[in-house]
Amino acid sequence: MSTGQGNSGKYKWIGTRVDRPDGADKVTGRARFGADFNMPGQLIGRVLRSPHAHALIKSIDTSAAEKLAGVKAVITAQDLPEQPNVIVPAGEMQVNLRDITRNILAREKVLFEGHPIAAVAATSDAIARQAVELIKVEYEVLPHVIDVAEAMKPDAPVLHDHLITEGVKPPPTKASNIAKRMDNAKGDIEAGWKQAEVTIEREYTTQAVHQGYIEPHACLASAAEDGQVQLWSTTQGHFQVRGFVSRLLGIETSQIRVTPSEIGGGFGGKTVVYLEPIAVRLSQKSGKPVKMVMTREEVFRASGPAPGGTVRVKLGARKDGTIVAAECEIALQAGAFPGSPLGPACWTSFACYDIPNIKVVGFDVVSNRPKVAAYRAPGAPISAWGVESTLDILAQELGMDPIELRLKNAAKKGTKTSYGPTFDTIGFVETLEAIKNSAHYKTPPKPGYARGVAAGFWFNVGADSSAAAHVAEDGTVTVISGNPDIGGSRASLALMAAEELGVDYEKVRPVIADTSSIGFNFVTGGSRVTFATGLAVVNSVRDMIRELKVRAAKTWGVDPDAVVWEDGMAKPAGSNVGEFEPLSLAQLAATAGKTGGPINGHAQLNAQGAGPGFGVHVVDLKVDRDTGCVHIDRYTAAQDVGTAIHPSYVEGQIQGGAVQGIGWALNEEYIYNAKGRLDNAGFLDYRMPVASDLPMIDALVVEVPNPHHPYGVRGVGEVPIVPPLAAVGNAVARSINIRMTDLPLSPPRLSAAIDAATPKMAAE
């Protein structure tokens, strides 16, 4: 279903629902994911992890493990060089090299339950597991802190003695768990409050949630005696893996070749490294290939969840619904090391709206939890939960339709954001109108059901991409790029290449190359691949077309400027050039040897102008007052995608993101016990949505082309997880007449809230 300007009808291939190039491989079990690679003579690596949330490491004795028959190597942090205190980018997040080497193998302290301490490589998994048990670690257990509010208190156990809060003037003299304070503002907030006729202020909390990709982290490393390293890894960015392994182990980049496997989901959680440096070091030490795969429990305990946090939101409006002032204070869990997605959480908080006076303050807070990683629009769902819930209260207070309130304040082309940029062409108004005009919104909820709406924003990312295009002797085309295909991007890249060349989609084969076979590509993240790598693919094809025109000109004995490329063929530019029959790609390829050799094209770029994306979601649901269980009856998600290159996969991103957000809203949370240990490190107790929890998710694809891409592409993947938290919360509030401010809205929490609000039978 497509609404809005619907520009994709003008293309031959773009906007069609072709079969993906890797479809057959994926439905036959042939596709090779992370754990599916094996090498002759490989060892299996396993990690010893901390049972404590916070403890000093007094000593590590690996001698018994080393003596066990079948054990070929044992390593601790001493086997990785110390790293400088330097920040490097990792996807949309930033990581500190000093911290990351400690996250991979603990040094002075363990900082969370599951923190890796040592690793072994053995001839079988059983022996490796046995060896891990034989490593003796002496701990001095320290008091721990899990909760952000607790961690911010002056008397909280301090995780890092050297951590002085950044962004505060003058800098504090004492270490604390507050790693950073961030401020951004627009207009004059005090003047704004004076204009307000209605002000609403609320505080909200969310819990840590996991990306929940179905494929656990896995890799296979083979280090040769001459120093060359081969690595297979399930990752969103094999160039990033190469960079980390190079830095963390002190190996020259050119000596490491990383091949990405098919990736079984990532959602931001596979933009960092956990196993790869360990596997490479174990392989160097043992002289054998080393394979490592995390268990699901390890994934939960020791790979990056998204942070939980607290958000306080204050909105001031005139009685006609014009918002004149907005304030937001956000504190996010960073996990054991600084670096929560605080920036994005702050920047995106009010980005949907044109508000003259804005003040945003954020805090990045460490606690004894696993270090957080990116998760789909990192940070944005948390601030949007606060902002969009408060907007709903404002709409109720003013007696306004929630879509009308948002339309009245919607950001448009020319709106200046609180964090700097001024929007170019964006489609928020069109997206709100798509929901307003949808069959869903025009139909009242079923009796007993209540409706919630919320909006969301994500700025999307461009960054570095390389691509190459080759013509084979028969005129078919290979397009090479370097981004792991996480959800159908091979299809979108091939569609753009076919469109640009004017050849059939089936004649284009997209290939994802290893780090040695194509130039640098930044991670598959930030909703950047179809936009930025797509642009690189288009440019590589244009480069190839330039060469094809040269070859046609040579064939005809004319100037290259006298040749045009149309419908997959070289044609004379006009009748004055001469009478020549058009030359097809296949004909030009067949004679390439006589006209100058192979015909290729290349492109490399740092893509600017990723078009921001907006989504609006509406949900009808019912709360069972006896059990606190929420039943979702109908869900519609509209989003401006610029141009839907492959509409089915665009819809899939919107539907999948919406469902992850529904899980975040209703059930998903990290639950800790008093000892600081995670109580629900498995899919049974960490409850992600299953098919029977959900209705069909209607995706309304709005197309307002991004002016900074030849085909109008905007990023798609991240926006849809931003609105659902508040959309579900708003519907629940309207259903039970209780405004829940703590996620998740799980049956125990809703039951307790309903019970607390219901007069006791005994009292009657």
């Binding site: 179905i214 079984g264 999948g656 995706a699």
Partner: protein, 160 residues
């Protein structure tokens, strides 16, 4: 520990293997026999990525001990297609974009096939409950459910 000798039939082929008594059937399929189509997502029977049929019964192969396969008939994702012909479920999953990353797809295909064998005329709710043991984190299930419903309709049409 002495290895056990097991005789079984996998995707129609008589197959023998040696295994540790404590090995899971999933590990044997993947590590001993090279059938890596079945995936391990959790190792505790909660995600369905390792779904296979054992004597036509849908099971999580991570919860089956390899010796339990003695004398039984196993079907994995590698056995669904016939030569170069994809099964209707495989075709529709591709056509309907019922996969994004694809890691859960083998499990969903096996579970869907088992569901349609038992109930060729399922309602949407029955498909949703029939596939509730299989986690997908990418698609939001919409396109998977539509693909299975469509195959059910086509197979009923073909059977008429």
């Amino acid at each position: 520990m002495a290895k056990m000798h097991i005789s079984t039939t996998i995707n129609g082929e008589p197959t023998e293997f040696l295994c540790d008594p404590s090995q899971s059937l999933l590990d044997v399929l993947r590590d001993n026999l090279g059938l890596t189509g079945s995936k391990e997502g959790c190792g505790s029977g909660d995600c369905g990525a390792c779904s296979i049929t054992l004597d036509d019964r849908l099971v999580c192969s991570c919860l089956v001990l390899a010796p339990e396969a003695e004398g039984k008939k196993i079907e994995t994702v590698e056995g669904i297609a016939q030569g170069d012909q994809l099964h209707p479920l495989q075709k529709k999953f591709v056509e309907f974009a019922a996969l994004q990353c694809g890691i859960c797809t083998p499990g969903f295909l096996i579970a869907s096939k088992a569901l349609l064998a038992k109930n060729p005329n399922p309602t949407e709710t029955e498909v949703r409950f029939g596939l509730a043991g299989n986690l997908c984190r990418c698609t939001g299930y919409d396109k998977i459910i539509r693909a299975v419903m469509e195959v059910a309709a086509e197979m009923r049409g073909a059977a008429r």
